[in-house]
Symmetry: C2
Subunit: 245 residues, 2 copies
């Protein structure tokens, strides 16, 4: 059982920022190379899930981590409030459509976990439904992995409440960030403890484990995610297919 | 545990064909009425699955059973050999996309069960994969039911081997049916016993039960399916929504 409060939101002491950024640049390049093989081989797909509070830096991570990947092999989906058509279906309907085909890296900026987090925090669904959905998520992720070789890497963007305030204030004060300002984020912030409890529970009940990324310093966020992705892909038997004799 | 060989492929003795056909016409009309309420209420959806050997009359049942339903509320999907894009995903990917929204009657002419029947008969997948897929199907159908009120009615079209021969021969001899002729159907027929075993196993391992329809006489096929559908829908609390005060 993990407790989020046991995890720091800051980089580990002793890691030099400049060195880490240099390392990140190399890893981003390596990720591009690995993606090329994944794309050519079409044996595996990769599903990367980013979840976290408003202002925890999900958009920035999408930009930075995959900067050396080629766009044709990426499929980035940002989940917003469900449409009427989406609400007319089970919660995984809109998610399943967007799962990556073999050879593709799919990135979910928010995901099916919203349906057991924001909906649970606001009690739009009851606890029986939360359990049903958690079981459905585990069955769904297992299907992707076992029936389609989809490697699933889920990242929880672990931000401190103080740092969130800094981030949300920047969205008011910085003209280039004002388009991201949403008064509702401040409202959601009032339910911080409930969010933490729901995230913690989702993380603990997931069959496929989560990576808890300390995101207060954005350079470490990128370093952590890149390291995790590169290490995971290096473990696969990725290779360029040979010309058939 | 059901055994298909215990089930007759013929109508029960004592049921008069003429009376049954009259009854079917009334039930088709009633189904149209029930569909209208389902569509207006948008509380439930209905997923009707037709599975059975070649020549077992799935297409004809689609035409006859839903003749008094309005097309705007029907969503009919015939599953053929998966495309390259579909093969690039897990087997439920192409299925989930087509599940009916609340208010809609979805009809699957063939379905996700193909992926544990034809693929199993030909040993394109191993037994571990069959088990994985059966578990995934049960989780998937439970999700549709519990998260979206989707009522699932699955019909196995139970035809005798002799009657299949009659049907397939008609596709050679009747100019209006020749477009349906496919020499591969005769090839598949050679694996008849394996098909029966795989159907039986799928039916026995399904959490949501199957209806075994005797289809050798097509008038009884329609009667049986209509009766089952109408009775299932009558059990729901379908109603026209009232104008809000």
């Amino acid at each position: 059982m993990i407790k989020l409060s046991d995890y720091s939101t800051l980089p580990p002491k002793g890691l030099d920022k400049k060195e880490a950024k240099e390392e990140s640049a190399k890893m981003a390049e390596r990720l591009g190379k690995l993606q090329e093989m994944l794309f050519a081989q079409k044996k595996y797909s990769l599903l990367v899930v980013f979840q976290g509070m408003d202002g925890s830096g999900k958009d920035g991570a999408v930009d930075n981590v995959f900067q050396d990947c080629h766009c044709g092999g990426l499929q980035i989906v940002s989940y917003k409030k469900p449409t009427e058509d989406e609400f007319g279906h089970d919660f995984l309907w809109r998610i399943h459509k967007n799962t990556p085909a073999k050879g593709i890296i799919g990135i979910f900026n928010r995901s099916h976990y919203e349906d057991i987090i924001i909906q649970r925090v606001h009690k739009w669904i009851d606890e029986d439904r939360v359990k049903l959905r958690m079981d459905a998520i585990n069955a769904f992720e297992n299907l992707l992995l076992e029936d389609n070789n989809t490697q699933i890497l889920k990242f929880y963007f672990h931000i401190s409440k103080d740092e969130q305030e800094v981030e949300l204030k920047q969205r008011i004060n910085d003209p280039e960030k004002q388009w991201k300002h949403n008064p509702n984020d401040w409202k959601e912030r009032e339910s911080w403890d409930d969010y933490m409890r729901c995230y913690e529970d989702a993380i603990n009940k997931s069959a496929i484990p989560w990576h808890i990324v300390p995101v207060d310093d954005r350079w470490y966020r990128d370093y952590f995610i890149l390291k995790t992705l590169v290490e995971a892909l290096e473990k696969l038997d990725l290779a360029y297919p040979k010309i058939a004799e």
